[in-house]
């Protein structure tokens, strides 16, 4: 069981709501994924409309909403957007995304840290999306983040865990859950992230843009379960230590 702040999750697969070809298909895929935490861009929903089509498809008792601040460029804008989201969507959970670079959507470490400090004081449960930077993760943890969300590779790129060496350090050092976000392109990437000890993964593009998003959502669900089981079962070490003969140390026997 994964615990973040006050919530417990039996699924370690978190999902997004963008890029689907319809709200109905999104709903079916999210249900197939078993995901209990689903992120929603503030910019995409009509916060004043209780019948917003996207939101109405997310009304299932096991699904918790995770509003995100996609579109903001500074800490100040993020804090403002977060307060609106809390009021409109009635949750103090927040995926903090500050990417002033709209081309590659690279997160801004400085603004993210500032916003985390600010939002922690305001009582938010903050899950910041950041580069796979171990020092930044520790700083965010100290500033009051409830989890950290380092990227596997550029968002939407489906390139998998390009940052794996840094993810391993983050996982080793972190006292809050580590959720690998962005770049996970295939169920095998998700399984790999879980095998190295990530607490959860967040997947959007790879499900939404798949030929069959519902089947792909289930594939991710199973991959995350398998990866987590493998982590808990303790993987055997890689590589082959056994060598048939001992050309370097055989002389010891002759001494």
């Amino acid at each position: 069981m994964l615990t973040i702040a006050d919530k417990h999750f039996s699924s370690r697969l978190f999902t997004g709501t963008g890029k689907f070809s319809s709200a109905l298909l999104m709903e079916e895929a999210l249900l197939a994924s078993g995901s209990e935490l689903v992120t929603v861009a503030l910019r995409r929903v009509d916060m004043h409309d209780s019948k917003d089509t996207l939101l109405s498809r997310l009304q299932h008792s096991h699904i918790h909403l995770l509003p995100n601040t996609s579109g903001v460029r500074t800490a100040k804008e993020a804090v403002f957007a977060a307060q609106l989201a809390r009021e409109a969507l009635e949750t103090n959970w927040l995926k903090l995304e500050i990417h002033p670079d709209p081309k590659y959507l690279m997160p801004d470490p400085i603004e993210t840290l500032k916003a985390t400090e600010e939002l922690a004081k305001l009582g938010f449960v903050i899950l910041p999306y950041i580069h796979a930077d171990p020092v930044l993760c520790k700083r965010l943890e100290e500033a009051g983040a409830s989890a950290v969300m380092p990227l596997g590779s550029p968002i939407g790129s489906n390139k998998g865990l390009k940052t794996i060496d840094f993810l391993e350090i983050i996982i080793e050092q972190s006292k809050v859950p580590v959720i690998v976000d962005a770049g996970i392109g295939a169920p095998s990437d998700a399984a790999k992230a879980m095998e190295i000890g990530a607490d959860a993964v967040l997947v959007n593009t790879a499900i939404a843009v798949a030929g069959n998003p519902v089947a792909m959502a289930e594939a991710f669900k199973l991959a995350v379960i398998a990866g987590r089981m493998a982590f808990e079962a303790k993987l055997g070490t890689q590589g082959n230590l056994a060598v048939a003969s001992s050309p370097l140390t055989a002389f010891l026997d002759e001494l």
Binding site: S21, S22, L42, R43, P100, D101, P102, G156
Partner: protein, 369 residues
């Protein structure tokens, strides 16, 4: 330092010759590159690439879906004024055209807004001619204050302004500005813009720099296709985009490729661009740049638009009127140009859904500045 410094290093004829001498091998190299350069772009818009249209379309579709998913953004123009002090040889609002001139009042704008909202829109594009005595920054400020509560996103396609003017408009909710160079061919530009402030080529060329310095969220570039060789003009657009992305890295960019449309007494295109060529151009931009937004207006035909939304386009308009008051106040008045696809927004949304895409009406929020 502005784009002009970079632009001045290029010579139109040399660029044109370089594009026309690209070979099949250049096209294939462009295909297989992991990061594509402007040389690759030249190959992709060259005549040599026309033999690769199907694979280009495939790649363009894949790249578009990866970035934008299965969605198409919806927007609609709102013409505020057709007063204009410029002469542009290709435009229905040109000073020398005998049309009734009108600038919408606040009350009239709200009547238009009501109809547009009724069609389901949350993203509006404000359009005017250039009449700096009456349709100026103060007018735009008033309009933004008036309509901001009604829309999640407001874009503008009006005369180029100074940096400080953009800085005044952006906090009032101006999200995006479209500024088309029309052509990057200096001499030809002069020919088509003989009178008015628009005849200043450099001021227009440096408008995106002023917008970038003012911190605009998004800007749109493009040329009017039909004035000059489209391959060469498109290269300069790509060069401009490339410069802007590096310089104003916090801004998003969109492209559009309006083809000259008939209006009463208007200009015949000097250069024709076929439908195949327009598809080649859309795909070439997408293959070079996976992130740029591409929009396609109602200038294009139904069938063409139905297919293009799957090939790289990310936003379209529908039900557009190109005359001030066209939705409610004065529906019978003369339009800037004839639109080609006359289907309603609801019909277009249906078409989008049937093609396996979701029409997106809202992708910004007026609480975000």
């Amino acid at each position: 330092m502005s784009f002009k410094d970079e632009f001045d290093q290029y010579e139109w004829d040399a660029v044109k010759e370089s594009i026309y001498s690209k070979t099949a091998a250049d096209v294939e190299r462009a295909f297989h590159a992991s990061k594509r350069t402007l040389e690759d772009f030249k190959a992709l818009v060259s005549p040599a690439a026309s033999a690769y249209l199907e694979p280009m379309a495939n790649l363009s579709r894949e790249l578009t879906r990866k970035r934008f998913g299965n969605t198409i953004q919806m927007y609609v123009p709102l013409y505020l004024a057709n007063e204009c002090t410029n002469i542009c040889t290709y435009c229905g609002f040109s000073l020398d055209n005998k049309v009734l001139r009108r600038t919408l009042t606040s009350k009239e704008i709200l009547r238009e807004v009501e109809v547009i909202k009724g069609m389901g829109y949350d993203h509006v594009l404000l359009v005017t001619g250039e009449a700096n005595q009456t349709v100026h920054t103060e007018y735009f400020k008033k309009v933004l204050e008036l309509i901001r509560p009604h829309f999640a996103q407001v874009s503008m396609e009006v005369q180029p302004l100074d940096q400080h003017e953009y800085e005044e408009l952006i906090p009032l909710g101006l999200h995006s500005v479209l500024i088309y160079q029309e052509t990057y061919h200096r001499e030809d530009y002069r020919k088509h813009h003989p009178k008015g402030k628009k005849s200043n080529f450099n001021y227009r060329l440096e408008t995106p720099d002023r917008l970038g310095r003012a911190g605009i969220h998004k800007m749109g570039l493009g040329v009017l296709i039909g004035l000059e060789d489209w391959r060469t003009d498109s290269f300069f657009t790509a060069l401009h985009l490339n410069y802007l992305e590096r310089t104003y890295w916090q801004t998003r960019y969109s492209l559009s490729f309006p083809r000259l449309r008939p209006f009463s007494g208007g200009l015949e295109p000097k250069v024709e661009m076929t439908d195949r060529e327009l598809v080649q151009l859309i795909c070439a931009y997408r293959i070079m740049n996976g992130e740029v937004e591409i929009s396609l207006s109602t200038r294009e035909s139904e069938k063409f638009r139905d297919h293009c939304i799957q090939l790289g386009v990310t936003s379209i308009s529908a039900g557009s009127k190109t005359n001030p008051g066209g939705y409610a106040v004065a529906p019978e008045s003369l339009e800037q140009f004839e639109i080609s696809d006359e289907r309603s927004p609801a019909d277009i949304a249906d078409m989008i859904r049937k093609s396996g895409y979701e029409p997106v009406w809202k992708d910004w929020d007026n609480v975000l500045v």
